[in-house]
């Protein structure tokens, strides 16, 4: 059996095969600001109370602190509900981005079935959970019943061989895969990432991979637990867990064998995530703004990668560099380690943890004609502000190098 089959079999209490529609018991349900929308449906259904308060995690990250009165009203309605229901896991706007905070706080364990009202819920696959994004109305049904109907997906396995050459990282790998597969190339599939490149990758890098697996249509992305996973979870949870792995002879729809030795830093050109090219083909395009952050690349090692490029240098006045730590934990680490001060000295504007400008709500929107290179996950038209602006996606090293040069730049050439 595949990983997806095993998790969904356990959750539905019967052997599940690709294509089967099962009613699955949910282990963890996450919502952010759109809990306000979930709440509305929950009340309209006429549900009285949530199925299990221990299995719901709520927080705010998309518009923090509230950027409009309406956003504040949304926050307020969720706070009132949390109080009335006595939900124990509510982080308000204190902790950062949902997809960073849930793993950090030990909510995510291998083998879990997790749903979230956010498309990048696939991130938790980095710890070996089956995790997927759903809509607000179906989340209301989950709150009420603890179950959701799901189709058991087929599996695509990416066997990633070779060795990445510094400063090429997980972001470059996943952009490369998205470019190869296309924005709908893995529709409805569970994508498994295995092989030497993944074995050598940090949990942080695996989160980047699983996070963006949905940009090629994946229902879930997964990397399998190992010693790195064990180390990450140590001190974050006291609960015991068993890894859930695909069997050797599992029925995998397709295996993609790739050798990534020699892979260049990758950049996704506007206005689609699969419009990917090696950085050398795009070097020289001027940029007005550079953003380092988001659930894709706002973690400690991402800020560190950027600092290594910028260290001791100053970005030109023509560029706005916005750094958004993914969580309070990352923020504190960056402050205590001196990375934050170094980034600020290089000219960065550091904001509070949250989604920042990624989804175009606030904290760095673009004017018509402006160009931004970002470590975020989408470059759709108008994503970060004006529909006449452009967003390019790349790794923290490439974004930092581009900020320094005022144009899209190859981090291999910029590094001291």
């Amino acid at each position: 059996m595949t990983f997806a089959q095993k998790v969904l079999s356990k959750a539905s209490g019967k052997e599940a095969y690709p294509g089967d529609v099962v009613s699955a018991k949910i282990d963890l349900a996450m919502s952010h600001e759109n809990a306000a929308l979930v709440l509305r449906s929950f009340k309209e259904i006429g549900a009285k109370e949530v199925w299990d308060p221990e299995k719901i995690v709520l927080l705010f990250d998309h518009r923090v602190p509230a950027n409009t009165t309406k956003a504040a009203e949304g926050h307020q309605s969720v706070r009132n509900f949390v109080r009335a229901e006595g939900l124990p896991y509510f982080y308000d706007m204190r902790e950062g981005i949902c997809h960073q905070v849930l793993p950090e706080k030990g909510h995510v364990l291998p083998g879990m079935l997790i749903v979230g009202t956010d498309s990048h819920t696939t991130t938790y696959g980095a710890l070996g959970a089956f995790s997927t994004g759903i809509g607000a109305t179906e989340m209301a049904a989950v709150w009420a019943t603890g179950e959701l109907w799901m189709k058991v997906p087929q599996t695509f396995r990416f066997n990633l061989g070779g060795k990445l050459e510094d400063p090429v990282t997980a972001k470059d790998v996943i952009l490369h895969l998205i470019g190869k597969m296309g924005a709908d190339g893995c529709d409805y599939r569970c994508t498994e990432f295995v092989g030497p490149v993944v074995d050598a990758m940090s949990v942080s890098g695996r989160m980047t991979m699983c996070n963006m697996s949905m940009e090629m249509g994946a229902k879930a992305g997964v990397t399998f637990p190992d010693e790195r996973t064990r180390d990450y979870l140590k001190g974050r949870t006291s609960r015991t867990w068993e890894p859930v792995l695909s069997d050797k002879d599992a029925d995998v729809e397709k295996v993609f064998d790739m050798d990534l030795t020699g892979l260049s830093p990758q950049v996704a050109y506007p206005h689609s995530v699969d419009n990917v090219r090696p950085v050398e083909e795009m070097a020289g395009i001027p940029v007005d703004q550079a953003v380092i952050g988001s659930c894709t690349n706002g973690r400690a090692e991402d800020l560190l990668a950027a600092e290594r490029i910028l260290h001791g240098s100053r970005i030109p006045d023509s560029v706005r560099l916005i750094v958004v730590p993914a969580s309070r934990e990352v923020y504190l680490w960056a402050a205590d380690s001196g990375i934050l001060a170094s980034l600020v000295r290089s000219g960065a504007i550091v904001t509070n943890p949250g989604c920042g400008p990624c989804l175009g709500a606030h904290q760095g929107l673009l004017a018509p004609g402006e160009r931004c290179i970002a470590t975020t996950n989408r470059n759709f038209r108008g994503r970060m502000g004006s529909p006449e602006s452009e967003v390019y996606l790349a790794s923290p090293a490439t974004v930092a190098a581009s900020a320094l040069k005022g144009q899209i730049a190859d981090p291999r050439e910029v590094r001291a």
């Binding site: 409009t68 949304g74 109305t137 989804l359 709500a361 759709f380 108008g382 994503r383």
Partner: protein, 160 residues
């Protein structure tokens, strides 16, 4: 159902269906005013009740925002007919009561043609050109959810 056709290409994403900057407002009428704004500024102004969107591959890709099908529904859209849909958009559309049909109708319609759709029988007709297409109807339980206006009224009815 019957309506005028709006035609779009592949990968129509949730950010152009309803841009992130408008997501703080949960008033559906306000939201509908911005439907498709970044792709087609004329859409929200000129769309009429019952109009039909015909599109290519991967319609609704991107965010899980349920506001995307809600914005289309409240702008008046009667159905979306696309070659394929992104997974979460498809579920959300059914859950909020916006009919979605997986069918490649891009070759049989031009913008402004009149479309006639029979969801139960799986028939789509271009009344302007006379061309007819057939699609696999949705399973009965999904048609029922759509008929009742979405998952909320459907679930509420079952609870009563």
């Amino acid at each position: 159902m019957k309506g005028k056709v709006w035609k779009y290409g592949d990968h129509v994403n949730t950010d152009v269906i309803i841009p992130g900057r408008y997501l703080d407002d949960y008033d559906l009428k306000n939201m509908a005013k911005h439907a498709m704004e970044d792709l087609d500024p004329r859409f929200a102004k000129d769309v009429a009740y019952g109009d039909i969107i015909v599109a290519g591959r991967n319609f609704g890709c991107g965010s899980s925002r349920e506001q995307a099908p809600l914005a289309l529904k409240h702008a008046g859209v009667g159905a979306v007919v696309a070659m394929s849909f992104a997974r979460i958009f498809y579920r959300n559309a059914i859950n909020v009561g916006l009919p979605v049909i997986e069918f490649d109708a891009t070759g049989m319609f031009e913008k402004g043609d009149m479309a006639l759709i029979n969801m139960e029988k799986g028939i789509i007709v271009n009344e302007t050109s006379g061309r007819t297409g057939r699609f696999e109807p949705l399973p009965a339980f999904l048609l029922e959810i759509l008929k009742e206006g979405g998952l909320v009224p459907h679930a509420a009815k079952r609870l009563r």
